[in-house]
Symmetry: D2
């Protein structure tokens, strides 16, 4: 029996979501997200974000959300600034370029962007011979598991204001970021500090679905036309509304994220205590330890996880991910097996 | 209590689908469609189509399927030929143009394409000053409810072969078309006669999902890269595989379509018997009668449906749609109410 | 010796243009259109248009101008309304679609657009399931040789204002339109009545070049970025500025157009007097007579021209074009030869 | 009197080109490059390249040539590998992304690509979550003035063959590269070693124009459709054919490039002898010395040149460019003035 620490989307959905889908299964409603479930979920998200005039849209995945928001914000010669490790830069098969925009990628050891990095990109792009950076893309938690503090996000906001840039936060793992033990950001903070952000459902207990929250009115106009042109409006849009309603009507969304974080903390702590290195600080539900290749081979007998890249001839960086459904037993078994490798 | 004859996606999913999702909910599997459910569903579809070398991919919606297949088949200056009423021409917000291709729209009273129409478009596009038509788009059933016969589809295939064109069939309502009382096409026929087609799940009992079947090897290479670039690969791809497996492992898919057709036949028959006109012949689960505006107003008290367009000052074409879950009682109630309108 | 009535770009340039290029050949100047020639030409055009705040840009061809202006004005799901015969709809190989926009083509017997046609397109496009028409494309003279009156253009302007549409006029043959004997429009009128228009050089005596005049400030922002992204900024931008300066510093531009029109009038008059039909009224330098196929074959011994399309089994519509350099002798010889065909 | 070492396109054209345009000015010919001048120029280039089956096309500028070749070679999710300093990566306002492709940029101290760099990019892009590198872009001379040797280009060719990549060489400054004193490549070598390359006219004495040479048949099909869709076919296409004919019918093209190189050598030598540093080796008509800021200020009184970037608080990298028309007097005057700065 192999346990997967490979990602946070290896299972189905939280049982309350399946139940909610079942409960209203035969209720007829309008298509394309004009149903009461979606409308209620939109209102709920506005309330949770303390952003009554925000536009909220539901789409089926994170790449779709990213390309929609970024393309809607930009003219074709305008570009998006991203950390080199940003999902849009490496793991979306050129989705942003596919809508005509360059990704200006910035190296970042921490996987986070800083105001200095942004200023540097802008100062290098000054004439019509070059793309015009106009939006900043960050993810929280980042693809490497790091999270932004309120102070960091505020500094980015100020930098973007000074430079006339939009700030967009990819929240594919937003639950984990907000629920992190050292996190100090709330949904309401995001609504104030960004122009747009997403609330990820797929990686936090939903069957599928990301909520796009557009707080800046400049990004709101006719956003659904963009969605339709890219094939992002589901006929049974209610499928997404029902799920977000269930996740957010009480604190289920954050409870699931907290569980994943707790399991990650337990796993991370155990690994660090055995003396292994985790080069990029993480307090979310995924992190990247360095293991000897021999250890990795032994672990792979019972567990799956992603191989990131070779550190040297003998050691490799791997990715471990926990989820809303990871049992403590799996974590403890992994640690026990790891201890035996030594 | 209002009943919706507005579309075939007003409810959730067939209960067997919900049950199947629930049954394997905690089973861990690979992401992005590399799970055993999707793999099994792919094999099942290949078998049903008698097309062992077909590529099969699952996506979340019809517009997405259309833009993916058409874009994958074309260079940017190449164009798609469609009936003027084709979904890609009028109801996808420019999704095809959004991937750089012109839709060459042809007027068609029946909503179906004929070889003559295709030849005419090709003969008008002869130099590099014009787009180059390279793929033919048809839908079965069409957006107006018409279905293609095997003879008609064979004639289109021969025409496309003669002109060097791909033939793509949008099967958003394929179940209804294949299950139609006067239908003579099978999945295996489609695999032989088209280069690519889709098997629609959303409008035939699934929560969401279309299966793309690529039978022409020229369209298969690296199709998943196209999917990813357009945001069309679900992290929990299994959500689609599980549903298609359930729909197709026995004849559920065709049973649901037959039910929808039976209800449409009953509704259509009743309407025709009262002397109303249905200008475009339909044998699928949707059709377009002409009603006096006064009748429409009365019907709207108890039913919703789409208004298509005004025929004259006093009469209007409307759309009526039945589905896998339409009860005979709703049909009979509609007919009874309609009888009272006279 | 064959004479070409095929188009208005069969020769080089007016000798004054070649002389002007030669005169400043060794003068060094800035690249990319930042040279004094371009700057002076821009000022001259602003003056001629009585539009001191217009933005003026020079590009190498008409398709490039069209795709730049239309794309700069639109978001990707927005569409352009054009007559079915419009250059962007049939003769640009999908250049507009290549930048992601649908062309909503309207049949027009006259090749001109009317407010009713525009209103009809807009009323059919009402939801996010469809493209959103946002700009109107007209050409003056049209591709069929027709010209707009001031009253007609004013009516289009009012219609566009009422519907929130931009109005763009393709002036590839603007000289001929403005110089037409029954024309009543001026450059200053165009600056008031359109949001953007072009002044065609290629078809009126230049080696190459179209001037884009952007009068609506909403279209001006960062237009040069669009130009660069599409490869439309010439390193030696002065090549275009020098030519427009020479064409417009006195009335050379209109003299050349008048000559072409006079030759077209002479040719048209002679053809009509012999009883041939010219179905679409034209008062510019190109027109479309119907000739018997036998006549066409005889004419082709001494002349080239474009075959438009067969009217019936025995008769064909052809296109005849005169230019700034067409000699009266060629016109008279054609008419004499045509007379002999009878 | 200021002399411009700013670029190689500050003047008009070589007088023989102006004369050639004048000589055939009134000769009528077909449009869109179907004229005898273009046809003869195509044959001439095929002969010079010893590539009788190559396709040759003429376009107005380098960015246009780059976006056309690269887009024609790629599907939308495919990417181009370029040095970080590559023109397509930094100085084309996102022209490549504007046609949907990512530029995979590689740091290179020399501004040249090596097989190791290419292999590294390919090994990092392995799944459909990432773009698929499919073409390599190099420029010769590079944007920093470096040139490739035949051995280097052969190694790149072998690397590309092994990895299934196209190799495209941007020859905006090809004349200078081939005429360089330490150069060992010929046009015929390029035809064998690349899949496509350009022969730059604009920066070597033409008014405008780049010749695209497509040697790989896979890139040839319907290339003119791509050209038209991007607005790259000139109505008076002969303007480009006449110029390339004049440049290449004897050795004018290489004479002009040699002159520019000789002037650059003289300038470079003088600067090096005064002890200034030129960090990137160059043997073409442009190079990048480091000067103290105080020296730069003094030089700017009599010369213009591009400021590249600050090396430290007191020193700056600048770009100096010579051309087919740079007089030795200007070079000597610059060196004399530079000597006085010390």
């Amino acid at each position: 029996m192999i346990y997967r620490f490979q990602n946070d989307y290896s299972e189905g959905a939280h049982p309350r979501i399946l139940q909610a889908l079942s409960d209203c299964n035969y209720t007829q409603s309008a298509g394309y997200g004009y149903d009461p479930f979606c409308q209620e979920a939109v209102e709920l998200i506005r309330n949770k974000c303390a952003a009554p005039s925000a536009d909220v849209h539901f789409v089926s995945g994170g790449t779709q959300a990213n390309l929609l928001v970024i393309h809607a914000a930009l003219r074709s010669f305008e570009a998006v600034i991203s950390a080199h490790t940003g999902h849009i830069n490496v793991h979306e098969a050129g989705a942003i370029e596919g809508t005509s925009h360059k990704v200006c990628a910035v190296p970042s050891d921490s996987s986070k962007l800083t105001p200095d990095m942004i200023r540097s990109v802008c100062s290098e792009h000054s004439t019509e011979m070059m793309v015009h950076p106009k939006i900043v893309y960050i993810s929280n938690a980042t693809e490497m598991g790091a999270i932004y503090t309120k102070a960091e996000l505020t500094a980015l906001r100020e930098c973007c204001d000074a430079l006339g840039l939009y700030l967009y936060l990819d929240g594919a793992r937003l639950g984990s970021a907000l629920a992190a033990s050292n996190g100090d950001l709330t949904l309401a903070d995001l609504a104030v500090l960004t122009d747009a952000f997403t609330i990820g459902g797929t990686k936090n207990g939903a069957l599928l679905g990301e909520a796009i929250v557009l707080t800046n009115p400049a990004l709101q106009a006719q956003f659904r036309w963009h969605m339709k042109q890219r094939g992002a409006i589901l006929a049974k849009g209610r499928l997404l509304g029902i799920q977000f309603l269930e996740l957010l009507k009480d604190d289920l969304y954050f409870q699931l994220a907290s569980h994943a974080n707790t399991m990650a903390d337990r796993l991370r702590q155990g690994i660090l205590e055995m003396g292994y290195e985790i080069p990029i600080p993480s307090s979310s539900n995924l992190f990247f330890p360095i293991f000897p290749n021999t250890v990795i081979q032994q672990l792979q007998e019972n567990y799956t996880f992603e191989i990131d890249h070779a550190i040297d001839a003998d050691n490799t960086l791997i990715r471990l991910v926990t989820s809303w459904t990871t049992p403590a037993e799996a974590v403890d078994a992994f640690l026990a097996d790891l201890a035996k490798c030594r």
